[in-house]
């Protein structure tokens, strides 16, 4: 009896020691899987002292090959995580790292857009869940440089200012009840870093809402978002509503407004494979 008690105590101590070892291993896993020289700086800039982990449920898609450094497609998909409050997309080695932030109020933790890169860089998403933990995922993007320091294509057109704000888009009502919104807004999205001394001029915010006024998602944009921002989002329109309203503002104070009809062409879209 006594022996077995001692054994039990010994077992518990071994177990505690094992757990401690596992704990250490956990801490080791917090080493940056992309081995970026800027990771510590990124962590303090975007996450601070909050709890975080590298989490492969945060999927960042970038192409395997990039030939236009001013228009690199990026998709962030964190739909496997529950209760997502905020998604920050950043690129460690860009002159401006902070790229885009999504607040998915009544939307899925999913956003697709295009960005400029100045050189090959990790592209990451830090996803904050309701329990206060950041989940970080990312991919290393191979690319030659120059996307941030090349002038916008629109700067070659004398009438660019007349087309700022022209918005095109379409929405699809998915089988799962979400609405898939795709849209593009004409805007030079000047970084302020180009050789021709054009100051920064970019769309800084978008609010996606239902016509009854419910905010479905807000997006903050920064300099690295490509010229003519083109976004894909998955929002949940209240039952019975068919129009998605999008309001935007650039740092020059210009306001943009558009309405996208989800019943346009009465199209339906099956849930994409990645959501299954």
């Amino acid at each position: 009896m006594l022996n077995s008690r001692i054994n039990l105590a010994g077992f518990a101590m071994v177990l505690a020691a094992l757990l401690a070892v596992v704990g250490v291993a956990r801490a080791d896993e917090a080493a940056d899987p992309l081995n970026s020289p800027m990771w510590e700086d990124m962590r303090s800039q975007f996450i601070g002292d909050d709890r975080f982990l590298f989490d492969n449920r945060v999927k960042v898609s970038v192409p395997n090959v990039v030939e236009n450094q001013a228009q690199v497609p990026v998709t962030v998909d964190a739909r496997e995580l529950a209760d997502v409050r905020k998604v920050i997309v950043f690129a460690d080695l860009n002159p401006v790292q902070n790229t885009l932030t999504l607040f998915p109020n009544d939307a899925q933790a999913y956003i697709s857009f295009r960005m400029k890169v100045e050189q090959a860089t990790p592209v990451r998403a830090a996803v904050l869940t309701g329990d206060g933990v950041w989940h970080v995922g990312g991919r290393f993007l191979e690319a030659a440089g120059g996307g941030c320091s090349s002038p916008a294509m629109a700067r070659n057109k004398p009438d660019w200012s007349e087309t700022v704000g022209i918005t095109r888009g379409r929405a699809w009502r998915q089988a799962d009840g979400m609405s898939r919104l795709r849209m593009t807004i004409q805007h030079p999205m000047d970084t302020g870093l180009t050789r021709d001394n054009i100051p920064a001029f970019y769309i800084e915010g978008l609010r996606v809402r239902s016509t009854s006024g419910k905010v479905l998602a807000t997006v903050e944009l920064r300099e690295p978002v490509s010229e003519d921002p083109t976004l894909t989002m998955l929002v949940r329109l209240p039952a019975g509503e068919k129009l998605i309203a999008v309001e935007g503002r650039d740092i020059g104070g210009n306001l943009f407004s558009s309405h996208i009809d989800t019943s346009w062409r009465e199209s339906r879209l099956d849930v994409p494979k990645s959501a299954e």
Binding site: S61, P63, P73, S112, R168, W172, R180, T232, P272
Partner: protein, 347 residues
Amino acid sequence: MFPRARSRGLASGSGTGTGTGSGREIRASLVNRRDILQAAGVAGGLCVLPMFSLEAAPLKYRLEPVEIAAGAWMLVGVDEAITRENGGAIANITILDTSEGAVVVDTGPSKRYGMQLADIARALTGKPVVRAYITHFHPDHVFGSQAFGAKALAAPAGVVEGLKRSGDDFASAMYYLAGDWMRGTEVVLPERILETGYEDIGERRLRTLVLGGHTDSDLALFDERSGLLIAGDLAFLDRAPTTPHADLALWQASLATLSGISFSKLVPGHGPAESTPRALRQTADWLKSIEDVIRSAFDRGLDMSEAMGEPLPSWSENIALARYEFERSVMHFYPKLEADLWPRVDR
């Protein structure tokens, strides 16, 4: 030890006889360094030797001419993307013998390649290169041009315009992708401007067809003597076509034009030369397929990343770089579809 190594290096450098002054110096210094490192390797332990030798060896393309007709050869490009391993030698280059001198079609990806091409053409024909045709402005086809000079270079006006517009950007991208293979490479603008018609060089009459679709200006050459059709990148075979500057409708029309020529053998821009019209048909099929797949993905609201993962027809499994080129094509065509097909929603 050092003076001896230097003198040997210089002797072997000047022995090649084709380089410019700076090229010889570079080669000499490389040989030089290798000699020194070999000496160091022997002193420091033999196991070190192979590694250092590899690092310091001057880069040289392995180019083996394949005879495709009487007095006509092809240097076969590898079915790969441009890498630091292949030095960008991915496109097919054609060499023709004429009584007036050697003729080359396309010059390869770098100055270094062009130099080797000039040597090979001279060795095969016993004559220097008197004319170098450029089929289009893409970097894997034009950056060997320094070996031939502007006066020997011939291309349609649209190709020259393309080089003026994008040549320097292409050079930057190539330095990034291929690295040291590109050393000393610069853009050269062809001075002889071609239109659709004929070029007579010695006993050969070359039909020039100024077409388009792969880029805004693509040259195909038909050698009436041998029946060779040199299609440039209007035709690909068993390697997926590239579309960064493509106009698909124009490209299909150009393929139809080329199908009307009765050739003995067709040299595609990438892939094997064959006596069948397989390259023309396969290129047309590929372009139609990716157009359909991309359009369908776009119509269903997929974003670019999702579209890149869409299935391709099963026959494309035998096509080299199918997925890689499809991903690129999605990036090429999506923005235009968005601009053209989505309705205005801001009013």
